[in-house]
Amino acid sequence: MSSSTSSLESRHRQLGLTDDEYARILDRLGRTPGDVELAMLSLMWSEHCGYKHSKRLLRRLPTEGPHLLLGPGENAGAVDVGGGLAVAFKVESHNHPSAVEPFQGAATGVGGILRDVFAVGARPIAVLDSLRFGEPSESARSRYLLERAVAGIGFYGNSIGVPTVGGEIYFESSYEANCLVNAMCLGLAPHERLIRSAAAGAGNVVVLLGALTGRDGIGGASVLASAELGDGDEAKRPSVQIGDPFTEKKLLECCLELLDRGLLVSLQDLGAAGLTSAVSEMAARGGVGITLDLCQIPLREPDMEPFEIMVSESQERMLCVARPECVGELLAVCEHWEVLATTIGCVTEGDSLSVLHRGSAVAEVPVSVLVDDCPLYDLEPSPAPSDLYDAPIAVLSGSEPPAEILLALLRSPNLASRRPVFEQYDPIVQSRTVRRPDEADAAVLMLPDGSAIAVSIDGNGRRVACDPRRGAAEAVYECAANLACVGAEPLGLTNCLNFGNPEKPHVAWQLVEAVEGLAEACESLGVPVVGGNVSLYNEAPSGPIFPTPVVGMVGKLPHASAAGRLGFARDGDAIALVGPFSPSLVGSELSKLRGEAPVGELPDADPRAIRVVHEAVRARIRAGSFRSAHDVAEGGVGCALAECCVAGGLGASVRLPRGIDAFAEAPGRAFIVSGPREALAG
């Protein structure tokens, strides 16, 4: 072996590949990979692109449903919402970039999820965000991360003209080192504009759209740069990408016009692993090969190495395939929108991803090796120890009078008003928003025919830490309950699984249990998973984050004008607590304020009874017989009532049912509803 070969072998470890994985590469290729090839394979076989530790598990999630148009595997899933329209949606994490540089990390998280949605031909119409930080009272860093992440989300969403309509924020010390920034986007498209990413048609051209390709966001490969290819300084550049919503706005309008004119065969966004991932996925899904000429790619810096071009994560870029006869019109549309468009390659017969640079091939890898041969690992779960997470600092003794407890809960970081945050987001641009933040449990967006869609995002890591299976199921029930409160029926959901290191048995156990809980809840409600994202290795030396499956659910209601509100509406209305509700203090906000660690079994859920009450609330909101509905979640009935009062500007006098602790929790199962006495009697 030559010396360059042996140094390459040690390089695979620096790129995150194990010795076994490298042996597998040698076996599949039948030769030693070149620099560019190894960089590409290391990314495609990473957890982020290859889902090595989660792919088998994710097969457990139900993905079939009557309204499904695009399922997992596309850039975003999509469901039919009637009237010839589809809603595409997906949630994705941008956790680690946001921990390094919260403003740009969160901004590009939004930019990335928007591209996923318009990559399937849908116009982004709403963004929601699910955020987790350390305790604000204990950590200046967490306050900084919160402030800058929120500013970054607002910067991108507000500037590009997509409303931020909802979200959630939790503060727990387990997120101190690993904050979570998950962004969800919904898009709207006529059925016929939905497009897949599969490349097709040998001889068709591959066109790169949008921003210049630079050295930003060269992830795992930055290690390669520092190790062998020289120039250590460049490897030290910040690996977080910089967002440019103005460029993305033009790119978005341009792509939608290209699709409306029928000029594209397929479309794909460039996200993690840049061109490498985009080209591999397009070729793999289409069962074709692709040849790229790197010399054609417009670069921000002229001396970029081929591997850098292939793995660059420069933002605001899309890749499309078009028939040669359409390229003239395609370029004219791009010129109108002032979007850079460059033919960089072509579709070929066969299975080879070929990368040319200055006339010679720098990579020639079977697409199947890049995409299909990534090893999949079985998890080795073992139940988490009960002392995995530290007990929080107690702020209540537990013997305070109820009024004092209520006020302590309402001012606690997890329950306090989110107004200072959502006032930094534009929730109304595009003129569809019928229910804004604080008006209802779910955001409601009007469709052209007067019907509406509703969307909510939920996930309480503290409860999942207690009891991963039931906690994860609760996230699904709570999302569905939020939809019921506005009168919407669930059509599909997306999820982002934020967990620690899956190679550790207790994290593997959290993951397996949580996926089982999600699957059971989805099956019982009949809601398919249309796609999602997995973010693993959210760990610090002090331990993993709370297991945090975040669920985003989309539903439909027939009349936007009948959308429910959470606030009490009229003086004299009756108030009722409805639903199969046997709450407990395990995993509750009150238990946290009392300094109790997240351990214990959560209350059992009766899926059939939950479905029945969701249907009942939905029907009565639609009929107008309930004038308000709010699901009982963190802080129990006491806090739910307070929220209904604050939102409605009215007081309430109630007597709790016997045996129900005012602050005990069992999310997704029960509702506070109000209306005329006779309407509530049934």
Binding site: A151, G154, F155, N158, S159, I160, G161, D244, P245, F246, T247, K249, K250, W337, E338, F422, E423, Q424, Y425, D426, P427, I428, V429, Q430, S431, R432, T433, V434, R436, M446, A560, S561
Partner: protein
Amino acid sequence: MKFGIVRFPGSCDDIDALQAATRVGEAVLLWHGDHDLQGVDAVIVPGGFSYGDYLRAGAIARFAPVMAQVEEFAREGGLVLGICNGFQVLSEAHLLPGALLPNVSLKFVFRQVELEVVRGGTPFTGASVSGARLSIPVKHTTGRFYAPEPDLDRLEAAGQVLLRYAPGHNPNGSLRDIAGVCNEAGNVFGLMPHPEHAVDPLSGSADGLTIFESMRAHVEQHVLA
């Protein structure tokens, strides 16, 4: 009655303005690179962003090719409405007095605010009356109206302040709670709140319609008559 809504690259409340104007008349989009106003009877420079606004808000858009035509249209007495970013653009173009500075909070603010009609009966407030209250949302980072004190006195004396934030509703620190001002001739009007987002009770309020209805009535009575 035909409204023209200017569309810059990066505009994002352009379609919203188009839809709002369509409720009271016809409306077309005017592309930033064109030199033709397509015979419209009134121009709306919409909210959102123009050219990214990475420089000072509105600073680039005022040099857009279409703005030369808008300025000429304004000089000839045509009605020009600037909403939010449009207000910033018109103020950069010196079609409106004063300047818009970053909010006192230095943050973007979205809020449904109450406005007071300071002066009814103008081309932009004719469908309303002095003292009326309007509920209209604001959403901006750079909306703090500023002018030197003597200029403010002059603006108020000349009746150029058409809208004020109601007491307690000033979201950005605008001097004298000014939410919207017009030029001396009264045919160019800019406001930070978004009337195009208050045209349907379903989405919160229909109070913003009064601005569009006023413009239509003025054009029909004074231009098309």
